[in-house]
């Protein structure tokens, strides 16, 4: 337990210092804001990214091993007692699982964000496609955002897997280890293209779409009344072109440049999700079991 105490003191003091020193900045930032020797120590020791550096990870690893040994030792000692108290063991198992889950999440977490307007679709995996069927933005009378709702449809291959789901802030779409979050809302000028069947496709700045054999990427939607700049890749090579209303591009035609509402969605694939969730539940149960048993033994009651 003495090693645990030393490690707790170390992690408390260094975490505290790390919260006061800006993290993950360039070397030039520390050189400009700190005396040269201190800037050298911060960047050279890894303190500039403390929570990802050996300065934190090694003591955290030692803490994990120490806690694992203590948990097994304590559990075995409790088994020999008449009146057993396994609350601390459950709490410690929760913390151990949390460390493992955190590590799995740290190593395997992937995320990416996308801006979608009504009718846009994005491929989530080889067979899953997410289509946005509606986006609603509600604001308070003072103009601050109240809620953003992206109603989506999920296709698995050619089948509809989820006909309709409303993704809101604090209400993500869960697809196993993959979750889709509502993160932002933007109004952007977008290039609107119409295909031969009358279908409409909107392109935000930087987005790309296929028009038959040609791939079209919007570079700049331009100001009102101006042409949009696009990069076109097709069999004849790659070129930048200016497009106006009615211009053909691949199998599509430019319908115009419009201001469209875009919903910002973030997809997160977190293999540590179930472990972290389970660990939090176990830790909470362990905590309350520990302290209810303790308080009962101390005889705290109200009149």
């Amino acid at each position: 337990m003495r090693l645990a105490v030393v490690l707790i003191v170390y992690m408390a003091i260094f975490s505290l210092l790390a919260s006061l020193i800006p993290q993950s900045q360039d070397r030039s930032f520390y050189a400009a804001h700190f005396p040269a020797p201190l800037a050298w120590i911060i960047t050279g020791s890894g303190f500039s990214a403390f929570f990802r550096s050996p300065l934190f990870l090694v003591p955290a690893g030692l803490f994990f091993i120490n806690l694992a040994v203590c948990t097994v030792d304590r559990f075995l000692r409790e088994l020999k007692k008449q009146e057993r108290r396994h609350g601390p063991d459950i709490l410690h198992v929760g913390i151990l699982l949390l460390c493992i889950g955190g590590l799995v999440s740290f190593e395997g977490r992937q995320s990416g964000s996308v801006l979608l307007s009504n009718g846009d679709a994005v491929r989530l995996s080889t067979d899953r496609v997410l289509e946005m069927t509606d986006f609603a933005y509600r604001a308070y009378p003072d103009g601050r955002p109240e809620d953003w709702t992206s109603t989506v449809r999920l296709y698995s291959g050619s089948k509809v897997e989820i006909p309709s789901y409303a993704i809101r802030v604090n209400h993500p779409l869960r697809l196993g280890l993959l979750s889709i979050y509502q993160v932002s809302h933007e109004i952007q000028r977008a290039l609107v293209l119409q295909d031969s069947q009358g279908g409409v496709h909107s392109l935000a700045r930087g987005e790309e779409t296929q028009a038959g054999e040609a791939s079209i990427q919007l570079l700049d939607p331009g100001k009102p009344g101006e042409s949009a700049s696009v990069r076109i890749r097709d069999a004849s090579g790659e070129r930048v072109a200016k497009l106006g209303v009615g211009d053909p591009v691949g199998t599509m035609t430019v319908a115009g440049v419009r201001e469209l509402e875009f919903s910002g969605l973030e997809a997160v694939l977190d293999p540590g999700f179930p472990l972290v969730l389970a660990s939090l539940i176990i830790a909470a149960l362990g905590l309350f079991l520990t302290f209810f048993q303790k308080l009962r033994s101390m005889g705290v009651t109200t009149a």
């Binding site: 003495r2 505290l16 993500p172 993160v183 830790a283 905590l287 303790k294 009149a303």
Partner: protein
């Protein structure tokens, strides 16, 4: 409705005055009314929260003013509960210290640091997990206030009997506050962050300070376990750590909000 916090403030001042008078009397008898005055103040503060909640259509706990009012409310309720309980020794100084803390919180809530404007929450803050996160964090921290007062008293007296009583109050307060704070500040906070942003933990300054606070109280509990094995009295070190833990909660709330920036800079 804006008179309610002022009325509560006056009641708490009155409660503190009554307690102070009885603290300096020789017979050391507990006063008969101060806890009821604090209880009444708690009701008024609850009415403030309820009114603002109705106004914005959501539990009003997300702004600095509301957080301070809620924190003071819990402290007032805690002083009442402490006075009514029978399992622990009643130490007037602990009640007095907690009352002064409630007074200080309400004083800050009426300052320009805590705008009174009633604002409905932005989308990320419209979450039941957030409400539970904030509420339980402050409930836990209210117990840490009691532990802080008892620890300061412990460190400033020499009478063995009194030290034992203060130590018991400090330990019991942490024993109750620690699980509530852990679940509220860390566990519910992490669940909320995951649902809102897709990340359990971001090493935001507020999160880091909440973790530091938790580590300090974890240290307190472990030091007591070690020291209990060596001697009957847990000694001064855990009391010093309890004081440090409370100072961490103060910095987590005020220091991070006003000095550092991050995801929690709105509340």
């Amino acid at each position: 409705m804006s008179a309610l916090p002022t009325l509560a403030f006056l009641l708490i001042i009155l409660s503190a005055i009554v307690q102070a008078v009885f603290l300096f009397r020789k017979e050391r008898a507990a006063d008969p009314v101060s806890h009821w005055l604090a209880g009444l103040a708690a009701l008024l503060l609850a009415a403030v929260i309820a009114t603002r909640s109705v106004e914005i259509g959501f539990p009003a706990l997300t702004g600095t003013f509301e957080s301070l009012v809620f924190y003071a409310l819990v402290l007032c309720a805690l002083t009442l509960a402490y006075r009514l309980q029978r399992g622990l020794p009643f130490l007037p100084l602990v009640q007095f210290g907690a009352t002064l803390a409630a007074l200080a919180l309400l004083a800050v809530s009426s300052s320009p640091l805590a705008p009174r404007e009633t604002l409905a929450p932005i989308p990320a803050l419209r979450s039941g997990w957030l409400v539970a996160h904030v509420a339980l964090s402050f409930v836990g921290e209210a117990f840490f206030v009691a532990s802080f007062v008892a620890s300061v008293a412990y460190l400033s007296v020499h009478d063995v009997e009194k030290r034992r009583d203060y130590d018991r109050i400090s330990y019991t307060s942490v024993a109750v506050g620690y699980p509530v704070f852990t679940v509220g500040a860390l566990i519910f906070g992490a669940i909320w962050a995951e649902r809102a942003w897709g990340s359990w933990w971001s090493w935001d300054p507020k999160e880091t300070w909440a973790l530091v606070t938790w580590l300090v109280y974890t240290l307190y509990l472990h030091l007591r376990l070690i020291r209990r094995g060596e001697r009957a009295d847990a000694g001064s070190l855990p009391a010093v750590v309890a004081v440090a833990g409370f100072l961490c909660t103060v910095f987590t709330f005020f220091g991070v909000n006003f000095l550092l920036t991050g995801l929690h800079s709105y509340g």
